[in-house]
């Protein structure tokens, strides 16, 4: 059968298998009305499930795969009251459903300053200029021809937890911690590109700029760029998603999200910072004494229990595996400790492999819940020995107006009915 482009093969609609599938589907719908109990009984042996007695769709039924229809609630979500427009806003990763250290590409949190740029890779260019011997313009083909590497790193917006400085506000793991995600990034080391242009000896700072409508730009020290930064075009085995800066973005391992410039179009080398809007008016921290901290790029050690959490309460007393994620911009996670009594006693959790530098790290601990009220906390320690602080310690050091870099220990209150709430301790 010859088909014109875009035309659906009409044969599908009259296909006998398809008709049988539809009929069974209708039957299933009817049986659902019979009630949960009856259905639950039907799902145990010796009953065969309907999908065990019917042919499934064939290959390329979905040429680009997607999650099961039964997990359609697992999506990025936003807080409508948080920002003036969705184009300059953020969405949150459903960490309550993340099963490993890698965030699926479709669930990686979004942060736009002027919407998601739709960039044609054939047109996109990266220009590197300023205090260099040889200013160059690279196409995507040029960038992909350089020696490549892959690294697994988290990206966290420093505003993650920013709504919780004054008090516990959002009863949800997704909204208190979902501005962190982790992926395998593939690209070229930025140091390779900087060698290619030849840095002049006065080169100390670089301005990195996106091709989005915000022309989002940040100043970064050249030392960091030469250390471990990546000009990335790959994300978890495929091209970067548009949400993550397709066709090319900067990865600045362990540093706050917004310096990982998406849709990267320009790197200007200079001898001093530019003090752009995003490093003066925003992404600076107002302290209690009225001073303001700028250039606080580094993400300090942080962790959170992802089960149980407000979205994933406990069902009944018994044995559970407490699960969570920890990360540090300074390197590897050395240890995570867990308290179930609000920080009086702590027990060391098990770290799941792989434990990678500047990547999400999974931790677990077996816990027997006796059905009594509990206050769950996790406390990360990184390889430099830095210990994740309490919110009280952070407030004592900085006040409550800093917005950014809240890496405090999260407390989940477990009630006798198993429900879980976001709380803060005195």
């Amino acid at each position: 059968m010859k088909l014109l482009s875009g035309q659906r093969p009409t044969g599908i609609e009259t296909d006998p298998e398809r008709r049988r599938f539809l009929t069974l589907g209708a039957a299933l719908g009817a049986s659902a009305l019979a009630g949960d109990t009856a259905r639950a009984a039907e799902s145990y042996p010796p009953t065969d499930a309907p999908w065990s007695q019917m042919l499934g769709p064939g290959v390329v039924d979905k040429p680009y795969g997607e999650p099961s229809e039964f997990v359609k609630d697992v999506i990025r979500r936003n807080v409508p009251w948080l920002t003036a427009t969705p184009e300059s806003s953020v969405s949150f990763t459903p960490l309550q459903n993340q099963t490993g250290i890698i965030t699926p590409n479709g669930l990686f949190f979004e942060r736009y300053h002027a919407g998601r740029a739709n960039v044609d890779p054939a047109q996109h260019k990266l220009m590197i200029h300023g205090l260099v011997e040889r200013p160059i313009i690279l196409s995507m083909q040029d960038i992909q021809r350089f020696p490549s590497l892959s690294r697994i790193h988290f990206i966290e917006c420093p505003a993650n937890g920013g709504m919780e400085w004054r008090a516990a506000q959002l009863n949800s793991l997704q909204f208190t911690h979902g501005m962190v995600s982790c992926a395998e990034w593939t690209g070229v080391k930025l140091s390779t590109l900087l060698e290619e242009v030849g840095l002049k000896k006065e080169a100390k700072w670089a301005l990195v700029e996106g091709a989005d409508a915000a022309h989002l730009a940040r100043s970064l020290p050249v030392e960091k760029l030469l250390d471990d930064c990546i000009v990335a075009y790959g994300q978890n085995g495929e091209a970067l998603r548009p949400e993550q800066g397709f066709p090319v973005r900067l990865i600045v391992p362990g540093w706050q999200g917004n310096v990982n410039i998406k849709w990267l179009r320009r790197i200007q080398i200079g001898d001093q910072p530019w003090f752009t809007r995003e490093e003066t008016s925003k992404y600076t921290e107002l302290m209690a004494d009225g001073s303001v901290r700028g250039f606080t790029w580094l993400i300090y050690a942080k962790s959170v229990i992802t089960f149980p959490c407000p979205e994933k309460p406990l069902k009944e007393p018994g044995i559970y595996e407490i699960r969570g994620l920890a990360w540090s911009g300074k390197g590897k996670i050395k240890a995570v400790d867990i308290s179930t009594d609000g920080g009086v006693t702590w027990e060391r959790a098990q770290l799941e492999q792989p434990v990678l530098s500047k990547a999400l790290t999974r931790f677990t601990l077996e816990w027997r819940w006796d059905g009594k009220p509990a206050l769950l906390q996790s406390r990360a320690v990184d390889e430099t020995g830095f210990v994740q602080p309490t919110i009280a310690q952070l407030r004592a050091a900085r006040g409550v107006n800093g917005v950014y870099n809240n890496n405090s220990i999260q407390t989940w209150q477990v009630k006798p009915d198993g429900s879980v709430f976001d709380v803060q301790l005195a």
Partner: protein, 222 residues
């Protein structure tokens, strides 16, 4: 200079550069030779970023009065007629950093006037950015600075005057990260008096949290 001598000079420069800049293990500039060298016009076309010392500011100028007109046309719908903000868009004028609910604005917070030019030029107006002329951007910058009583009504913004504007809050910025500023320990037992463990705040019942099941929650009253 003849083209061959020019080439020889460039080559010599390249060798000198290579011998002075290349550290052990590094490749010389142009080792791969991918892409092509950017021309001055190409660099000038994209290099829009402006520094506090004025580097990057283009020719042109604008007065406060010109800015009032351009602002009304381009900016007031979101930022209010006098920079007071509209709906949830940022206010540009006034407010105080002191007190329980600080209001950071251009006047109360922004440390450099050059940043204002740079941001308006690159990112504004929000729905159609980077389309104003340099004169328009200078004028709007002058107007917003004047609304904040930082410059007089006779101020003319240009590449000479903007770097000289002293922003009120500039000296309170610290550009060196003072962290770590907390000293928690790996205490494992008797880390707190159990009687002192008390819930100070809870998100329960605050109704600020969107649903995390079902379709996206617009949080509008049903």
């Amino acid at each position: 200079m003849s083209s061959s001598r020019k080439f020889a000079a460039t080559l010599l420069l390249g060798i000198v550069a290579a011998s002075t800049c290349v550290l052990a293990g590094e490749r010389p500039a142009g080792y791969f030779g991918y892409g092509r060298v950017a021309t001055e016009a190409e660099v000038a076309g994209w290099a829009i970023s402006v520094r506090p010392d004025g580097q990057g500011l283009p020719p042109g100028e604008g007065t406060v009065n010109q800015g009032a007109d351009a602002y009304t046309e381009q900016c007031s719908a979101c930022h209010g007629t006098f920079g007071e903000g509209a709906e949830r868009y940022p206010k540009l004028v006034g407010g105080s950093i002191k007190g329980d609910r600080p209001e950071p604005s251009v006047g109360s917070y922004w440390p450099f006037a050059t940043t204002l030019f740079d941001y308006i030029n690159g990112a504004m107006p929000f729905p159609a950015p980077h389309q104003l002329s340099a004169d328009q951007v200078y004028a709007i910058t002058a107007y917003i600075l004047n609304l904040n009583n930082i410059v007089g009504s006779d101020f003319v913004a240009n590449r000479e005057t903007l770097p000289k504007v002293k922003m009120p809050y500039r000296d309170r910025f610290i550009w060196k990260d003072p962290r770590p500023d907390t000293k928690n320990t790996e205490c494992m037992n008797d880390c707190a008096d159990p009687a002192s463990v008390r819930i100070e705040s809870t998100a329960e019942g605050k109704e600020l949290t969107p649903r995390t099941t079902g379709p996206l929650d617009d949080m509008k009253p049903k």
